[in-house]
């Protein structure tokens, strides 16, 4: 089972103080800590587990500058076999459509049975690269995947997490792309020895020419969408009163927690 996992090196915004930069279209990146996108972390772990069970290889792919190597190294330390990084300064400003196209150009030349992505990236939250990449590759896909059972090399049964705690089970023909939801597994901690070994492995770096991509197809020029404005919405205080018996109130609270993904 050969698996390709798409990963993104993202600023960890959840615990940081976010400021808008002077362009009004991006955030101030200085001082932010970067790491692997949380969803992708689960996707890599799932790929390594499948490889450990069925054999094959795991290749991780990212689009990003040299700093993104640390995310690829983490994936290699966890058990990925190969790492590919695509970069060109002209890629700055690329929207999810361009990123999906770039990933397609890389992956179409690889042998694969499965492509895994995270459901979304923590920074832009677009959640569209996975499905678009599947369309480019002309393979089926499933999103919000919380469980993968491989029947054989021809099909997989996947569990999709829907709103309100519902689960949907679908059978998908392989090769396929699955966008992985957090919680599908418990990602392992990589060991220091694993990091040492990962440092010995090569990270293959590809540019636009290697992928037969023209400058006009990427970055701002090639994007279908453009960020117009980024702003911090004014803080609003909303107070909701819950009415009913203690049991009813408890049920309502549980519903609210579930709808916010907190339970």
């Amino acid at each position: 089972m050969n698996i390709v996992v798409c990963v993104k090196h993202v600023p960890k915004c959840a615990e940081a103080e976010i400021r808008i930069d002077p362009t009004g279209r991006d955030i101030e990146k200085h001082g932010l800590v970067y790491d692997i996108n949380e969803w992708d972390d689960y996707a890599v772990e799932e790929a390594v587990r499948i490889k450990e069970k069925f054999g094959g290889s795991v290749t991780v792919v990212t689009v990003g500058p040299e700093e993104a190597n640390s995310t690829l190294r983490k994936c290699l330390a966890r058990g990925a076999d190969n790492a590919i990084r695509v970069y060109d300064p002209k890629l700055v400003g690329s929207d999810p459509y361009v990123i999906a196209k770039v990933l397609y150009k890389v992956i179409k030349n690889l042998q694969f049975d499965l492509v895994l992505t995270g459901v979304m990236a923590e920074d832009d939250g677009s959640a569209t690269v996975g499905p678009m990449l599947a369309e480019f590759l002309k393979i089926p896909h499933a999103t919000m995947v919380k469980k993968i059972e491989l029947k054989d090399h021809k099909a997989a049964i996947v569990h999709r997490e829907l709103e309100g705690g519902l689960m949907e089970v679908v059978e998908v023909k392989l090769p396929a792309l699955f966008a992985i939801q957090t919680g599908i597994n418990e990602p392992r901690y990589v060991s220091i020895l694993g990091i040492r070994r990962a440092m010995q492995k090569e990270i293959k770096v590809l540019g636009l020419k290697d992928l037969s991509l023209d400058e006009s197809e990427v970055g701002y020029a090639g994007s279908w969408t453009l960020i117009d404005k980024l702003f911090v919405p004014p803080a609003e205080k909303v107070c909701q009163y819950l009415k009913g018996s203690p049991e009813e109130v408890a049920t309502q609270i549980l519903g609210i927690l579930k709808s916010r993904g907190l339970f």
Binding site: G31, S70, I195
Partner: protein, 392 residues
């Protein structure tokens, strides 16, 4: 957000940064939530469970070669591990520094090949716990006056004496015990295993510091240890002192971890706490405190980094290690205290880390060479005159 005002991260290799980040996220998720209750109740953290987890990651004996089941990293990586561990709690850093510097290092440097093969891989995996017995009830800063004795009797040594203030004394499976040979008066090192007749291990309680860790006593009463458990290459007090240099190096880095945690806690608090209608961070007196902390931490980071590189090059002197231990523990002590002040009444609650770090650092201030002794080591270095002992 990490505190890296002078971009010290750029001075680290990609590999070192990855190790630091991995250790950090592991500790935050798996270990940090256990600390406050352990400290509050003085019920030491389950070091057996922690040792196995630390061992899996390769955090124990990280600078010892891979031949002995260790990661074979450099000293800077060992320092970074200590920094991350002590940002959680000093007792955990004690465990890492003692295991690596005071138990594994002497076996690696002064042990026989059989001893290395027998103990190092198990210590690295956290399957067994070690401790280091040097301090005695009557002997602290002056180890040359050691009262514990070793007497050769055929193929055995008979050990007698008491060691106190020993980290992990109560739980350890092996102890590196230093004792004076009654024949040649030289200090020798022995590996004493748990359960050896005449060897008793106890824990000290009612501590006001290091409450999340085990500290105790080792009692040796006609304790017979076979010759093959003596560290053959340890031929004098110098061997024991060389181990302390390893652990002191770990402290120099660890103390900065505790200081950073205090600084971050205080900064966050000062930005959120409002008095007189504005965040207290907007007041000059608070800003001055934060600036002093940032300044001292930044200097301490550079000292730790440089010492790491000197250790890696095999050029670090005991005086340079004393300098870093002394300075950086002072930084941690200052930052813990200042952070506690900024937090006002909340600063005395264990809900915030500074008061716990502050109490812990009191141990660190006087162990592995008191602050005074490190001052005298540097004084001797500068003047060429020792001021440790006088004729009475």
């Amino acid at each position: 957000m990490p505190l890296d005002f002078y971009m010290v991260d750029e001075l680290l290799s990609e590999e070192e940064r990855l190790i630091r980040d991995t250790v950090r996220s592991f500790l935050r998720k798996e270990i940090a939530p256990l600390v406050v209750d352990a400290w509050h109740k003085e019920e030491p953290l389950d070091v057996r469970m922690i040792a196995k987890k630390f061992g899996e990651l390769g955090m124990l004996g990280s600078f010892i070669p891979q031949d002995y089941g260790c990661p074979g990293m450099n000293y800077t990586s060992f320092g970074l591990i200590c920094q991350e561990v002590e940002s959680i709690d000093s007792a955990l850093r004690s465990f890492v520094a003692v295991t690596s510097g005071l138990v594994m290092y002497p076996i690696w440097q002064y042990g026989s090949e059989e001893q290395k093969r027998k103990y190092l891989p198990k210590l690295a995996r956290g399957e067994i716990i070690g401790c280091f017995g040097m301090t005695e009830p009557n002997v602290g800063s002056d180890p040359a006056s050691m009262e514990t004795t070793a007497k050769r009797q055929g193929g055995e040594w008979i050990l007698n004496g008491t060691k106190t203030w020993i980290s992990e004394a109560g739980v350890a499976d092996i102890a590196i015990v230093w004792a004076k040979d009654v024949e040649d008066k030289k200090v020798k090192g022995f590996i004493v295993e748990r359960g050896t007749p005449g060897f008793e291990q106890t824990s000290i309680i009612k501590k006001g510091s290091m409450r999340a860790g085990d500290v105790g006593e080792l009692h040796l009463s006609d304790c017979k240890v076979p010759e093959e458990n003596r560290l053959p290459k340890a031929t004098g007090l110098r061997a024991a002192l060389s181990c302390l240099d390893q652990a002191r190096f770990g402290i120099a880095w660890g103390a900065i971890g505790a200081a950073i945690d205090c600084y971050k806690t205080a900064l966050e608090y000062a930005k959120n706490r409002k008095q007189f209608g504005a965040p207290i961070a907007s007041y000059q007196l608070i800003q001055e405190k934060l600036v002093e902390m940032l300044t001292e931490i930044t200097k301490g980071q550079l000292v730790a980094w440089r010492l790491g590189r000197l250790m890696d090059a095999g050029k670090a002197t005991p005086e340079q290690i004393s300098f870093a231990k002394r300075n950086n523990v002072r930084v941690a002590r200052f930052c813990a205290r200042t952070a506690r002040e900024i937090l006002g009444a909340n600063g005395i609650s264990l809900d915030y880390s500074p008061i716990r770090h502050m109490a812990n650092i009191e141990s660190v201030y006087t162990y592995e060479g008191t602050d005074d002794i490190h001052t005298l080591i540097l004084g001797r270095y500068i003047t060429g005159i020792q001021a440790f002992r006088r004729e009475m």
